[in-house]
């Protein structure tokens, strides 16, 4: 399978990465090189093989459902690129 220029633009948008028109062709070539490389997987017979979900067999651990952390707005906001008081600031989302 290979991707066309439109698909490259769609993927970039899904990935939330702005891509200039002059970068599309180059990216398309690189993505197609990788997709061509992984194409050989099609020849593997995977009938009856379970997809791996956990590389080491383990049961999901559980802990008591209690609050163990939090209530520290100073630490949480310390690296915020934009803030007002104890809030993160983002561009307007709803009209």
């Amino acid at each position: 399978m290979s991707v066309d220029a439109k698909t490259v633009r769609d993927i970039a948008h899904l990935a939330r990465i702005a891509v200039n028109d002059d970068e599309i062709e180059h990216l398309q070539g690189e993505l197609n090189a990788i997709l061509a490389f992984v194409e050989q997987l099609a020849e593997v017979d995977v009938t009856g093989v379970e997809p791996m979900t956990s590389v080491t067999p383990m049961a999901m651990k559980q802990r008591p459902d209690v609050v163990t952390d939090g209530g520290d707005p100073v630490a949480i906001l310390q690296n915020a690129p934009a803030r007002e008081g104890d809030y993160f600031v983002v561009p307007k989302v709803v009209e």
Partner: protein
């Protein structure tokens, strides 16, 4: 006084114990070496004040008779580990201003045991690379050069700064992370010991997440015994990482020097490929001879799905990366680019913050997880991964204790030699290491010789899950037979 930077961790511990020097003197010697070696670009942040403060506290503890397992030992930390109050960037522009308010579990464990932080080391951006050339701080220059040449070589990647720091005597030990070979390949390229533990052996908490089902932290050192000492401190169960293994940490240093008599070592035939350099083949042969000499038995085995591990990895890895890197949105931390609408802000932040390799992987990952393609790519690759793991399980079930393979398909290459062309060319560096991550197994790389151009080459030993001890025993046999290798100082 002897040059304190020449000491292994084990030797430094002896010297500290005998009061031949203090932890402050030991830290200072390394800080001076780091200053002189800035041209290698191994460190992206030196922390001299923190180092001296920690060393001073360490000397006080020792004086009070409370020395801990790594008391006063200086270490370098890959910039993928969050360090409280010390800038942590993953060598990406998107995290350039990030100062964590918490400490990763692995580094916490090192400080708990008395280690001293020298600084943060360079790596490929978000650990995506095999040459340390994708770092936003620029490439690391290997302390090794080809005989009679002064071409700059790569130290390998992604943990290139840690490997170069240990090889150039800037630190006796360092931490790395290994997702597809990022500890073992640079260890091989720089002639040091590097170990990727079993998945779950070290907590991933506080390590910048790349591909969560593959990532694992591990040590670099100049001897097998030192790597064992570091791992003993780094490993352990952690409630903050649900995939961390709830099992005791063995006394790894005790495994060094243990007999390997009658061990059954698998030699996987699929690791021999067309066009394999004769020097790599010869090195592998030597390794077999050394282990045979030590009483182990070499057994030809087959891992039939080996050739599919790398392509399957280049689906699983970008898929998980694209999902993990979705968090970099310019809202809570890191870089934010101005933009009118919120979507514009996201898109410009990520375009400005991510380098080329990161963009490639996030896009491939987004594609293979997108509606209509997920079964064909991602789920299919995870089925292949089950088969890759099964190959190893079959061998271990048949009585194989460990496998011996070459570490890399070649010695180190020049800066710029492979980074401009086809991305798949670079990916092929991980040919021998990636299977181990796909199967969640432990693997150690031990320097085993020099090639015709005077560059180090390594051998890899792959073990059963949670049997790092056998790797240390076998690694020590190789080390004893091969000797150790150090670059000639030119920097």
């Amino acid at each position: 006084m002897t040059d304190l930077t020449a000491l292994t961790i084990t030797a430094a511990q002896d010297g500290l114990r005998r009061k031949e020097f203090t932890a402050v003197e030991l830290a200072d010697a390394h800080l001076t070496a780091m200053e002189r070696a800035r041209g290698l670009n191994a460190f992206v942040l030196e922390t001299p004040e923190r180092a001296r403060e920690m060393a001073k506290a360490s000397d006080a503890r020792r004086a009070a008779g409370n020395a801990r397992p790594l008391e006063g030992i200086p270490v370098a930390v890959k910039d993928m580990f969050c360090t409280q109050g010390v800038r942590t960037t993953a060598c990406s522009r998107i995290l350039e201003p990030f100062v964590p308010t918490y400490e990763s579990t692995v580094t916490s464990n090192l400080w708990r045991d008395g280690a001293v932080l020298l600084g943060k080391t360079n790596n490929d951006e978000f650990a995506m690379g095999s040459s340390n050339e994708t770092s936003c701080f620029g490439p690391v220059i290997s302390p090794w050069r080809r005989k009679g040449a002064n071409t700059h070589l790569v130290p390998g990647g992604s943990s290139g700064g840690s490997a170069a720091a240990v090889a150039a005597f800037l630190a006796p030990g360092a931490t790395g992370t290994d997702t597809g070979g990022s500890i073992r390949q640079p260890a091989a390229f720089t002639g040091v010991v590097g170990l990727k533990p079993t998945y779950g052996r070290c907590s991933r908490w506080g390590i910048v997440a790349f591909a969560s089902s593959l990532d694992q932290a591990g040590p670099f050192a100049r001897s097998v015994a030192d790597a064992a000492l570091l791992l003993r401190s780094m490993a352990g169960h952690d409630l903050k990482d649900t995939t961390s293994a709830d099992r005791p940490v063995p006394d790894y240093p005790a495994a060094v020097g243990r007999s390997v008599n009658r061990m059954r070592i698998g030699i996987p035939k699929e690791y021999r490929f067309d066009g394999m350099p004769a020097e790599i083949e010869a090195l592998w042969e030597k390794g077999r001879a050394w282990l045979t000499e030590a009483g182990a038995e070499m057994i030809d085995v087959s891992l039939p799905h080996t050739k599919y591990a790398l392509p399957a990895y280049y689906i699983v890895n970008p898929a998980e990366a694209s999902s993990n890197l979705a968090r970099y949105d310019g809202v809570r931390y890191g870089l934010r680019a101005p933009g009118g609408e919120v979507i514009d802000m996201y898109e410009h932040t990520r375009a400005e913050g991510f380098g080329k390799e990161v963009v490639r992987r996030v896009m491939i990952g987004t594609y293979v997880l997108s509606a209509g393609y997920q079964d064909a790519y991602y789920v299919h690759a995870q089925r292949v991964r089950t088969l890759v793991k099964k190959d190893f399980e079959n061998c271990f079930a048949a009585g194989i204790d460990a496998m011996l393979t070459p570490a890399t398909p070649s010695a180190a290459f020049g800066v710029g030699e492979k980074s401009s062309g086809d991305p798949v060319e670079m990916y092929r560096n991980d040919l021998f290491t990636v299977t181990v991550n796909m199967a969640g197994l432990p693997g150690i790389v031990v320097p085993a010789g020099l090639d015709g151009q005077g560059l180090p080459l390594g051998l890899q030993v792959i073990g059963r899950p949670f049997d790092e001890e056998t790797l240390f025993s076998l690694g020590a046999v190789i080390e004893k037979a091969a000797g150790t290798f150090a670059p000639e100082r030119w920097w």
